[in-house]
């Protein structure tokens, strides 16, 4: 099992979710993060104070998948999130040792979906 963490532009979530659905991947977890990457943010100005805005709003998408879904998932995220502009984000893949469904107590591959 693999665990994917993707950092994407905040406004690409709908596209990413749509692309994932096409691959039959429906279960995800999303959260707000701030990121500093290569993208240069717009400087923010507050009276005398100029914030060079090193941190930009991003979304973090987390998906646990069985091994055979890894690449379809990665491709789907890439498809949905890519605009070709700097700041599109990154995908990180981890090995997932164990997965449990709290409701039923099931574990392993069967618990992922």
């Amino acid at each position: 099992m693999k665990y994917i963490i993707a950092i994407i532009q905040p406004d690409r979530l709908d596209e990413v979710m749509a692309a994932l659905e096409e691959e039959d991947i429906n279960l995800i977890t999303v959260s707000d993060v701030m990121g500093r990457g290569r993208q240069k943010g717009v400087a923010e100005v507050y009276r005398s104070y100029v914030d060079r805005n090193r941190l930009l709003r991003k979304l973090k998408v987390e998906i646990a998948v069985n091994d055979e879904f890894l690449w379809p998932a990665v491709d789907a995220i890439t498809r949905g999130a890519r605009t070709g502009h700097i700041g599109d984000g990154k995908i990180f893949v981890f090995d997932l040792e164990e997965c449990l469904r709290i409701r039923t107590g099931e574990s392993g591959c069967g618990a992922i979906g």
């Binding site: 905040p10 406004d11 709908d14 707000d32 701030m34 943010g41 717009v42 923010e44 709003r57 502009h85």
Partner: protein, 411 residues
């Protein structure tokens, strides 16, 4: 000072302050409904109008709208920079309060009206384009129409159509301009799958301030502290109440839940619809107008808009345009001279003519506003460009137009 009544003056000072508060109220009503990345842009637009329109009004707007009449269509420049507009009353407009106070009361309307349009093009218009458009629109559309309806010698004022507190000049006018704007600027990216309101309590706060301020708007339009202003106050409260309840009930009946957004939208729709009627109808008439406003604006916003498919982001047309037109027509039904001898009877009180005049006034004003607004928007679009780039729309107007974020995320 000769002729000044301290009670009337006291009330009208307060009414003016109340109407001023409606613009920030609108900023929160609209601001709460947009996405987090655009909230400041909407509030900034409202606040900027509070600045720019006050200046325009004093420099020449008031003179164009209320100054000595030129052929029934516009005022001249003789009151520019408030020449001759002093502390003495002007009996043509309001005999018991300083002329400057009448001018100030009207100023707040002139500030609020262009701010209403913001709802249609929210989340995608360039700030510069917004500014230019607003000043042009105020001068070319608002000021003349205010003259027609309210100015001494204005042709609609002579005609006999009734508009107590500005249903035509403010709401139909802004509503039609909003429709034009939604058509010219086009849909937001992603429409109709736009994320939900980012902060509904802000929208509720805005609605509360609007309701509160509307007492100044409507009851202030009696221009004094008297029975008529109280009657207008009562109609205002009942119009808002009935429409809020009506919208929520319709939602419930249609198998959904009654929503907070629906309730406050209904309240605003009721306030809009009661505006032309406030000084002419009985309490029961006000309840009727309110209930119909809730129902009709619900249909226009939830059912019709969905079908037509333009993107009036915050329903400036659906609520102010539709509600304003409805109110104008219903005034033609429910008006009665028993409430206000200065008014007239409507259809329900045996006078069909009024409905006709209401209809004519509505049509002329709606057409004038739509056509000129459309033209102005196209003009600005061709020259300066109305819309931000797609990239900027993605990032959000707060950052790209104002270099600010509304909230910090971490820390």
């Amino acid at each position: 000072m000769a002729g000044i009544d301290t009670g009337d003056t006291a009330w009208m000072i307060v009414a003016t302050a109340l109407v001023m508060l409606m613009t920030p109220g609108l900023a929160f009503f609209y601001g709460g409904l947009v996405r987090r990345k655009n909230v400041l842009s909407v509030m900034m637009q409202c606040f900027m109008l509070l600045g720019v329109m006050s200046i325009q009004w004093v420099l020449f707007g008031y003179s164009l709208a209320f100054g000595p009449d030129q052929g029934g269509v516009i005022g001249d420049f003789s009151w520019a920079a408030l020449a001759g507009v002093g502390q003495e009353p002007n009996a043509d407009y309001a005999a018991t309060i300083p002329h400057q106070l009448f001018m100030l009361f009207q100023m707040m309307f002139a500030v609020l009206t262009p701010a209403l349009i913001v709802g249609a093009f929210a989340e995608r218009m360039k700030f510069s384009a917004f500014l230019i458009f607003s000043v042009l629109w105020a001068t070319v559309v608002y000021d003349p129409m205010a003259h027609w309806v309210w100015g001494v010698g204005g042709w609609l004022r002579e005609l006999g159509a009734l508009d107590f507190a500005g249903g035509t000049v403010v709401h139909i006018n802004a509503g039609m301009a909003a429709l034009a704007a939604a058509l010219v600027i086009g849909k937001r990216k992603g429409h109709p799958d736009i994320s939900p309101p980012h902060n509904l309590p802000f929208a509720i706060l805005g609605a509360a301030l609007l309701w509160f301020g509307w007492f100044g708007f409507n009851a202030g339009s009696a221009l004094g502290a008297n029975g008529l202003s109280v009657s207008a106050f009562l109609a205002t409260q009942l119009g808002a109440a009935a429409a809020a309840v009506a919208w929520a009930v319709v939602e419930w009946i249609k198998g959904r839940r009654p929503t907070a957004l629906g309730t406050i939208s209904g309240a605003v729709a009721g306030l809009v619809a009661i505006t032309p009627a406030a000084g002419f109808v009985t309490p029961l008439g006000a309840l009727g107008i309110g209930a119909l406003a809730g129902l009709v604006c619900y249909l226009s916003v939830v059912v019709v808009k969905g079908k037509l498919g333009y993107d009036d982001s915050l329903d400036a047309f659906g609520v102010h345009g539709v509600g304003g037109m409805l109110g104008a027509l219903l005034t033609g039904l429910w008006a009665t001279a028993t409430v206000n001898p200065g008014g007239a009877d409507g259809l329900f009180h045996g006078n069909a003519a009024l409905l006709l005049w209401q209809f004519v006034a509505l049509l002329v004003c709606a057409a004038y506003s739509f056509v000129l607004s459309y033209g102005l928007l196209k003009l600005v679009d061709r020259t300066l460009g109305l819309r931000v780039s797609e990239d900027k729309e993605n990032i959000g107007l707060d950052l790209t137009q104002h270099s600010e974020s509304a909230y910090t995320l971490v820390g």
